[in-house]
């Protein structure tokens, strides 16, 4: 009985901490202004939309990876999928949830666009270094 209570409480807190962790990742990239180039390529205008996420993820595959991004990116991807699953179930019972989750998905899209921006900058730097040498 005690173990079952601990299991339920742990799963609830896991969900809460995971969501907050993803939100803190997204909040730390919210102040980053996207370059005009990334806005053109991704079609993201302010504010971003949740639908941009898949497109930006596809573009990310084309750029060299930055190891520091990997875990944050993975966490936000899981969060985005979780929001998608929750949207298709909970929003039927609570319509207000739809607009909240849409905002969150837009935040995820903006986060990956910032990662894309950083990867493009890194590629540029690497190319510049190569041409110098």
């Amino acid at each position: 009985m005690m173990a079952a209570i601990i299991l339920v409480v742990s799963l609830v807190t896991l969900m809460m901490f995971f969501v907050s962790y993803c939100r803190s990742l997204m909040a730390s990239s919210a102040s980053h202004a996207l370059s005009e180039e990334v806005r053109d390529v991704t079609g993201i205008r302010s504010p971003a939309s949740g639908r941009d996420f898949t497109k930006v993820m596809q573009l990310l595959q084309l750029c060299p990876e930055r190891p520091a991004d990997r875990m944050g990116l993975r966490a936000v991807q899981i969060y985005y999928s979780f929001l998608g699953a929750a949207q298709s179930t909970i929003s039927r019972m609570a319509p207000a949830f739809r607009s909240w989750s849409e905002n969150e998905r837009a935040g995820c899209a903006y986060f990956v666009a910032v990662v894309l921006d950083k990867r493009i900058s890194l590629s540029r730097e690497m190319l510049a270094q190569q041409s110098e040498s």
């Binding site: 809460m16 962790y21 939100r23 803190s24």
Partner: protein
């Protein structure tokens, strides 16, 4: 000997633990986060000690069992100290910071006493490793509750330090995952294989802390309002 996947996860975890200490030194944050670094160094030492015992006596031996559960219990106590150090950082110079530390020590002793009572009641022959296992499991749960309180304090006091916020949140994810794994193991022993996931979970904490230390400087700030799931 454990399988090659388990060994790989073990080595990976140890590499992440060492990487965190190296990153802290490289970013001149070793003493700023002294207890976090101390915990990681002790974890590496525990890994080495376990590995030596494993090599000498084998995985099924009593010696390995003792070394595993005792070092695990000791590391959990040190992680509890890490949590208290984070409390001290969040509460800073508030008057009740000293009382809070005393309460934390009392809670630790209370948890140890409770674990002893549980084991003494259910086990006819009390063994140290059973007590160590019970203590670890209970401390993980106490850790979740304390991390939850710390997170509530972070939001209430409008804490803005990005590093501190992310360190607290990754600790919360880690404690929750560990406690859920132990609890699932107790609730449904037929899924006993789930206990092997603890190795992979152990990699997450040093990795998340490494990324936090490397990505953000001590001066990085967050807007507290952006952390709330429901805006006030």
């Amino acid at each position: 000997m454990p399988g090659s996947v388990e060994l790989f996860i073990w080595y990976l975890g140890t590499a992440f633990e060492l990487a965190f200490v190296v990153c802290s030194i490289a970013r001149k944050s070793f003493f700023n986060y002294f207890f976090l670094n101390l915990y990681m160094l002790l974890t590496v030492l525990a890994d080495v000690a376990r590995w030596l015992v494993l090599e000498k006596y084998g995985q099924k031996s009593d010696q390995y069992m003792y070394s595993y559960y005792y070092t695990d219990a000791l590391l959990t106590v040190v992680l509890y100290v890490v949590l208290i150090s984070l409390f001290s950082r969040v509460f800073g110079e508030l008057r009740f910071a000293k009382h809070m530390r005393l309460a934390a020590v009392a809670l630790l002793l209370g948890t140890a006493g409770f674990s002893y009572a549980v084991v003494a009641q259910s086990e006819p022959r009390l063994t140290g490793s059973v007590f160590a296992y019970e203590l670890s499991q209970n401390l993980y749960f106490v850790g979740i509750v304390l991390t939850y309180l710390l997170w509530a304090a972070v939001l209430k006091l409008r804490e803005t330090r990005t590093r501190l916020v992310q360190i607290v949140l990754s600790l919360g994810v880690y404690f929750s995952l560990y406690a859920a794994t132990y609890a699932l193991y107790n609730v449904a022993p037929q899924y006993g294989e789930v206990i092997h996931a603890t190795g992979a979970i152990g990699c997450l904490l040093p990795l998340a802390w490494c990324i936090t230390i490397m990505r953000y400087s001590e001066d990085s700030r967050l807007a507290p309002a952006q952390l709330l799931a429901v805006p006030r």
